[in-house]
């Protein structure tokens, strides 16, 4: 680079006319004048290394994907220091922050995928957005193809998701669980939680699974990502005003499971009919580090909140509380099997509750609430949407749009749509893959008609699953 520098000054030197007149009155367009002192500097040969860090970042931010970025980080030390995970994300956030006026905030929201599948079926479906034109498409694949990095030969089942990570279990095994990142194919087998004599009585399928990572907002130390895997058993409402369950919680920092019997007060006693009805839970989601799920006996009764990161050290119990349904939530018919009609979800990090109820033969009412104020004492719902869906015979919600509070994914008359609530606009995505499942075969078990849905976000940088600490 230094040699080309010299030659370029030689060449330009010949062409230079050395006018000295600096009279501004005689300005004409593009009149060339030269200042011999500036000559050398002005025609210095620039290379990409001449650019400031900010400009280099601008360039890197326009690269299409993370593999390209990672490859770029191995070009030289400077590029590495700009792109290495911690620094790049900090830079990126700062960069976006400084240029708020320049970047359309909605385009900055992270891409995501919606995965859904039926318990008994080997196929798995993914709704993914095409990067270029924001159109959605559906991709179907066999589950074993999807995560072929896993150490198991037999089939696996997705149990929970958080950010870009999945919790999966091996079919037919009660103790084989893996945390994995489908983008990087990294996986970590969790230790056996049935260790010791703990589990003699729980030799049954768990009731639900929760996956909670620490909020990604603070990125000071990305290499040490902390998370909790929670396996939930035996949820029960008691007439005496408590909700109990058994939770096995995997703590990423210790690499160990601990067990807890949370005991959450509720005030539903007088409304509970029979205690021996089956207890149900649905839609375990994570918002602000807290797990939420719909709970009830035959009917949904309310929402259970439980924080796997917080432990009451005195009684050795997870902290949690009971959240009542909002006023205006229709209690009439909500059977526990009505998945897709009553849904919990997370939009921009906040908990949302949706209810679809049939008003008449061809009209549904849709209400969406958001839970605000997560303090232990005051919590309140705000009604964010209340609309009527006319001309609709049958509809259920597949998922909330995690970034857009006005959009939900619904299945209506066998078609998956993205529905913009306020504009009443349906955007067709694809046929809903009913056919695979022999819709009529599972008539009695209506639950089977509704798939398990998981949302995977694609953060700026793939989450790296920390190794188990060596004991």
């Amino acid at each position: 680079m230094a040699t080309s520098d010299e030659s370029s000054t030689n060449i330009t030197g010949h062409h230079r006319q050395r006018h000295r007149s600096e009279r501004l009155a005689s300005i004409m367009r593009k009149k060339r004048k030269a200042n011999s002192i500036d000559d050398h500097e002005n025609h210095e040969e620039f290379s990409i290394s001449t650019l400031s860090d900010d400009l280099l970042l601008e360039i890197f931010l326009r690269l299409p994907n993370r593999p390209t970025l990672i490859q770029c980080s191995t070009v030289c030390k400077r590029w590495y220091s700009l792109i290495s995970p911690t620094q790049f994300i900090l830079n990126f956030n700062q960069f976006r922050h400084n240029r708020k006026h320049y970047y359309n905030p909605t385009s900055a929201s992270l891409p995501f995928e919606i995965i859904f599948r039926y318990d008994q079926h080997p196929k798995l479906h993914k709704l993914v957005s095409e990067k270029t034109n924001q159109k959605w498409k559906i991709m179907s694949t066999s589950a074993s193809n999807y995560l072929n990095c896993l150490p198991w030969r037999s089939e696996f089942i997705i149990r929970a998701s958080f950010g870009d990570l999945l919790l999966v279990s091996r079919r037919g095994s009660i103790k084989d669980y893996c945390v994995c990142n489908p983008f990087t194919n990294q996986w970590l087998a969790l230790p056996d939680y049935t260790d010791g004599s703990w589990l003699q009585h729980y030799y049954q399928d768990p009731t639900g699974y929760g996956f909670t990572g620490e909020s990604n907002q603070r990125n000071d130390d990305i290499t040490q990502y902390k998370y909790r895997v929670t396996i939930i058993f035996k949820c029960e409402f008691y007439l005496r005003g408590v909700y109990t369950f058994v939770a096995f919680v995997f703590c990423s920092e210790t690499g160990k499971w601990f067990k807890s019997y949370p005991n959450l007060p509720h005030t539903l006693s007088n409304k509970l009919e029979r205690q021996n009805d089956s207890t149900v839970i649905h839609d375990i989601v994570t918002s602000n580090g807290v797990l939420y799920w719909l709970g009830g006996i035959n009917k949904f009764r309310g929402i259970i909140a439980c924080d796997p990161f917080s432990m009451d050290s005195v009684v050795n119990r997870l902290r949690g509380h009971f959240v009542h349904f909002p006023l205006g939530f229709s209690h009439g018919w909500r059977r526990s099997s009505s998945k897709g009609k009553v849904c919990l979800g997370v939009v921009r990090g906040q908990l949302r509750l949706l209810q679809l109820h049939k008003i008449n033969q061809s009209c549904f009412g849709l209400k969406v609430w958001e839970l605000i104020d997560y303090g232990d004492v005051t919590r309140s719902w705000i009604l964010v949407h209340e609309v009527k869906l006319k001309g609709v015979d049958e509809i259920f919600e597949l998922a909330f749009h995690p970034n857009n509070g006005d959009a939900i994914f619904v299945v209506r008359d066998r078609i998956i749509y993205q529905y913009e609530i306020e504009n009443e606009k349906y955007e067709k995505i694809s046929e809903f893959p009913y056919d695979d499942y022999g819709e009529n075969v599972d008539q009695e078990r209506s639950v089977a008609r509704f798939p398990n849905v998981f949302i995977i976000m694609q953060p700026l940088w793939p989450t790296s699953i920390p190794e188990l600490p060596s004991i």
Binding site: L24, I48, E58, F60, L63, T74, C76, K77
Partner: protein, 163 residues
């Protein structure tokens, strides 16, 4: 401020002086496509001569050429103009050698021409895309300054990105 530029009757002229003394006479509506100049015009008001000691005349000329095309194309608010601009942008960056590209990029950045920065950084990014690490080094004449083994280590840690 700049909205007055759409009334075609009043075209105020500004004088821009580059580091090498070369001066350019441009319409205000053209020059204010550059954020830095827009700010100066708004702040200093009456001053017609603007000195830009960090930009060489050759590249200032090119930046202004770009501004002019965009300012002209934007005056008649036709939807087809977007296409014209895009086509013209493509032409503009097509045959730039790297030296000119970086000079322009730094000039555009210094003058807060965000749209032009966008165009030029996009161009550089397009030169990186689809290349292997060695090819990137070759394209940009960068020598690896990692210690032996360091690069391997990074690759190993992120093996998923190199498949």
């Amino acid at each position: 401020m700049s909205s007055s530029s759409t009334t075609t009757t009043t075209t105020r002229l500004l004088m821009l002086k580059a580091s090498d003394g070369v001066t350019f006479e441009v319409e205000e509506a053209v020059a204010t496509k550059l954020g830095a100049i827009n700010n100066m015009v708004e702040e200093e008001g009456s001053e017609d001569l603007i000195c830009l000691p960090n930009v060489n005349g050759k590249f200032l000329g090119m930046v202004l050429e770009w501004c002019k095309k965009h300012a002209n194309n934007n005056t008649n608010s036709d939807k087809g103009n977007d296409e014209v601009n895009k086509w013209w942008d493509k032409e503009f960056v097509m045959d730039l050698d790297q030296n000119t590209l970086y000079h322009l990029l730094m000039a555009a950045d210094y003058l807060s021409g965000t749209e032009l920065v966008d165009l030029l950084t996009e161009k550089v990014a397009s030169m990186i895309r689809g290349k292997k690490v060695e090819e990137i080094r070759e394209t940009f004449k960068i020598k690896s300054d990692f210690l032996p083994g360091q690069e391997e280590e990074i690759r190993k840690k992120n093996s998923w990105a190199f498949e």
